[in-house]
Amino acid sequence: MNITLRVWRQKGRDDEGRMVTYKLTDVSPDMSFLEMLDVLNEKLTLESEEPVAFDHDCREGICGACGVVIDGEAHGPERTTTCQLHMRSFNDGDTITVEPWRASAFPVVKDLVVDRGAFDRIIQAGGYVSAPTGTAPDAHANPIPKPDADRAFDAATCIGCGACVAACPNASSMLFTAAKVTHLGMLPQGQPERASRVVQMVNQQDAEDFGGCTNIGECAAVCPKGIPLDTISQLNQDLLGSLGKGIG
């Protein structure tokens, strides 16, 4: 396949960015999208042009490091992570536009790399169960009904890639926060801190300059792990309950 790439190049956080066009020939449909970018970078290096910076690590769809906007869609045309997208999803002769996540809470660091530190700070605000090492009862002390365990699991599969924020017209992080609130809120271990957790995490996402949620649903539509949209309802229900009790 022959393709034309339009890639966002930006030297540093405070520099102006611009789209730059590159042509690639002999692209194999079996290449992953990131392998195609590897091939581009090898070519650029040999031509003494600086390679394109992009985040990636596990390349098997689980670490959440990769993520770019491809032709206007977070992670591109398939519902998966960028590393699991393959060139067979494109056609010979296509022009493909590649940009970083766009959100003021995720400033661009260089080219396609953004700073997602805000997600870690939302977790710091309460996305955990306080269970100091060594204090745990036997794992079977507390049976959990399978439907609850399964729902907790579905929410827990979030990889923190940030596609939800990139896709949201408001750049809201609601699906990310709701996934954690739901994961821990469905489990007995998560109950003691449930009421305060939701308030603290929502306050932190507001402090990070994410936009508000207006129930558009773009987040769940692009989520590579299929985090259900109704986790946001769960969050809102928990939040109302907490605020009603005067927490927060």
């Binding site: 590897d38 600086e50 098997e60 670490c63 398939e78 790399v113 870690d120 060594g134 794992a139 049976p143």
Partner: protein, 648 residues
């Protein structure tokens, strides 16, 4: 002392910290004899932890809770992304929830045998004892393990064992365990007991007065070279499988932290022990950047076969039963498709070498779920393995519900690593090593679902109960950046970076890395020979000198520069690769994942030579132009009888 053309044999060593007495009491005994640090004094002590995977995040969270001042570094943009996250299948624990005859002793026995009698009995026993606490700890954190309708935890079986002791969270066990440890870590960061530095890479160890006292790190966003001090340093930086270029490791996984420590005096143990995982998606082209594992759990229900006829190119569904060779079930009826990884991998290589391999390259075997689907129904297969099937389909474009998967072995894990004593302390006082980065528990082959167990055992339970014995003598003399030992370490880092940026040759970093990987896979992979290893050593030496003449790294240090990061890692892989070959060459026996063609049974199985090689090979760095020095730590077996492994 004796010397040959490749290495010098030095004095034997032993584990001075290993307690004696009945094996089941040794860990209690060590915890009791270790000096304690009272809570008020912990505030005066500092610890640096490099890496935030299972072994690093769990240690940082636990030591932060205990009241030490912890500073943590990871190269990723968030600690949640460490490669432990990619472990799929599960975590072992001797809970005996199945009432199927499991016990701490059986997990211990299986692990020593699985490791082909090249691990320490005391360490493995402690690992088995600790395994039960890990599951409790993770459940308390909210890790959503798979459950049955009664609400209790589910289990499955893994290779090399005949009980069901593997706990799992669909095919994402590593992710869920790591997120549990990450959340515990973030809680400590919020509490102020842990300082986290993301996008920082350790490039040198600072040693002063014979003790590990700090690190030099590079801020990967600004290029600033920073100096950090502490009373002890912990390396939890994972394995070095990426020396093969293609592996199941993350792209950024590297040996730099442990290799830099090795160059400063830490012994590197058993570097040639590499695990080649039998069930990975085959290579599809020369652009390939990494290999993807298909969880070993698939071998619970999938059947592995190749066509009986060589070069049979028919659609697998058209090949009748009697023209298929279910070679694992045929050769190993007792364990069938669930033989240990080293055996399954070599068997796949052998059938492909004989011409029975499938797929475009002929380097593949079928993993077939047709029988399982008929027995359990498609829905049950989907709920158990759905995400793995989806991943396979995304990568290959083939539907595994319809057509058997094609799999082939790939580099997955390294059992070798920095030598540590029972306290997890390296041969440098004050330098501790946890998880895959150390060598301690898996011998010459690791059993499935034991990596997560070891990483969390080390981080939650072992290190926090042994490092106190060392820290009790601290705090040590205060240091600052002007200290000559710190200056020297920093100078080593800056001059290396300057040199990499100044060569401006004609070849990219990746081209060198790929060439190194090809050499390692060809000569130091699934089958090794004296002749091949000698050739590899020559090739690696030549490649290394070409690298320093002709590598091309663009840009500057003072920015995010991913090519520069890679170049620094490849420098260390180019040195490590040679030591791996020397280690493989000196060990003239086969054991576990190390298969020397010259040492096999009549059936082609690994043949150990216990009289000569029942030891840990701990290598001391000899200097850039000198030979490495081999120190042997003798291995003794009191509780498990050493015999030829049999899975028939």
């Amino acid at each position: 002392m004796s010397e040959n053309d490749l290495y010098i044999e030095g004095e034997p060593i032993r584990d001075e910290k290993a307690p004696e007495g009945p094996i089941s009491e040794r860990w209690d005994q060590r915890r009791f004899s270790a000096k304690l640090v009272n809570p008020a004094n912990r505030r005066k002590l500092s610890v640096i932890i490099i890496g935030t995977g299972l072994a690093g995040a769990s240690a940082a969270a636990t030591m932060g809770e205990a009241g030490y001042n912890v500073t943590t570094f990871c190269y990723q943009d968030s600690p949640r992304r460490a490669h432990s996250i990619a472990a799929q299948g599960g975590i072992n624990a001797a809970k005996n929830y199945r009432n199927d005859g499991d016990s701490i002793h059986r997990l211990f026995y299986d692990t020593v045998k699985g490791g082909d009698f090249r691990s320490r009995e005391s360490n493995v026993y402690r690992l088995a004892q600790t395994s039960v606490e890990i599951i409790d700890q993770c459940v308390a954190q909210g890790v959503p393990f798979a459950r049955e309708y009664g609400g209790l935890l589910d289990n499955r079986s893994f290779g090399g064992v005949q009980v069901s002791r593997t706990f799992y969270a669909r095919g994402q066990t590593g992710q869920q365990l790591l997120i549990g440890a990450y959340q515990a870590l973030e809680r400590q960061i919020a509490a102020g007991s842990v300082q986290m530095h993301t996008r920082h890479e350790m490039l040198e160890l600072i040693i002063s007065g014979g003790k590990a006292r700090g690190v030099i790190v590079r801020d990967m966003l600004t290029g600033e070279i920073e100096t950090h001090f502490a009373d002890a340093v912990v390396l939890a930086t994972g394995g070095y499988g990426n020396v093969f270029y293609l592996s199941t490791n993350a792209m950024g996984s590297n040996v730099t932290a442990t290799w830099r420590a090795h160059r400063k005096g830490a012994h590197f143990a058993n570097p040639c022990y590499t695990q080649i995982h039998p069930t990975c998606i085959p290579v599809s082209g020369d652009y390939q950047s990494k290999l993807t594992l298909m969880s070993e759990s698939l071998r619970n229900d999938g059947r592995i076969w190749v066509p009986k006829d060589k070069g049979d190119k028919r659609d697998p569904r058209q090949i009748p039963e009697d023209e298929r060779d279910y070679y694992l079930e045929r050769k190993y009826p007792a364990f069938g498709n669930l033989v240990p990884r080293d055996i399954a991998s070599r068997a796949a290589k052998n059938v492909c070498d004989e011409g029975h391999g499938v797929g475009p390259s002929g380097l593949g075997v079928y993993l077939d779920f047709a029988d399982a689907t008929e027995r359990m129904g498609r829905e049950a297969v989907e709920s158990k393995y759905g995400n793995l099937f989806d991943m396979y389909q995304r990568i290959t474009g083939e539907n595994p519900y319809e057509v058997p998967m094609r799999i082939y072995p790939a580099v997955h894990y390294t059992m070798g690593g920095l030598w540590v004593d029972y306290d997890l302390q390296s041969s440098i006082p004050g330098l501790f090593v946890t998880g895959e980065a150390n060598f301690s528990d898996h011998g010459a082959n690791r059993l499935g679902a034991s990596a997560l167990m070891q990483g969390l055992a080390d981080g939650y339970f072992v290190l926090p109960n042994t490092i106190n014995d060392y820290l009790a003598d601290g705090p040590f003399e205060a240091m600052d950046e002007s200290h000559p030992d710190a200056q020297e370490a920093k100078e080593q880092v800056t001059s290396r970076i300057d040199k990499l940026l100044s060569i401006q040759g004609s070849r990219t970093v990746d081209s060198f890395h790929k060439e190194l990987g090809t050499i390692m896979w060809e000569y130091c992979g699934m089958e090794r020979t004296e002749e091949g290893l000698r050739k590899a050593i020559e090739l690696i030496r030549n490649l290394r000198s070409e690298f320093w003449r002709d590598v091309k790294v663009l840009g500057t240090n003072e920015e995010l520069n991913q090519a520069l990061e890679k170049a620094g890692r490849v420098v260390d892989f180019l040195e490590l690769g040679e030591l791996m070959c020397i280690d493989a060459l000196h060990r003239r026996e086969s054991c576990g994942g190390h298969f020397r063609a010259e040492s096999q049974t009549e059936d082609g199985e690994a043949l150990r030579h216990d009289d000569e090689f029942a030891y840990v090979a701990a290598w001391e760095f000899g200097g850039d132009d000198n030979k490495p020095v081999l120190h042997k730590e003798n291995l003794e077996y009191e509780y498990v009888e050493m015999k030829q492994r049999s899975y028939k």
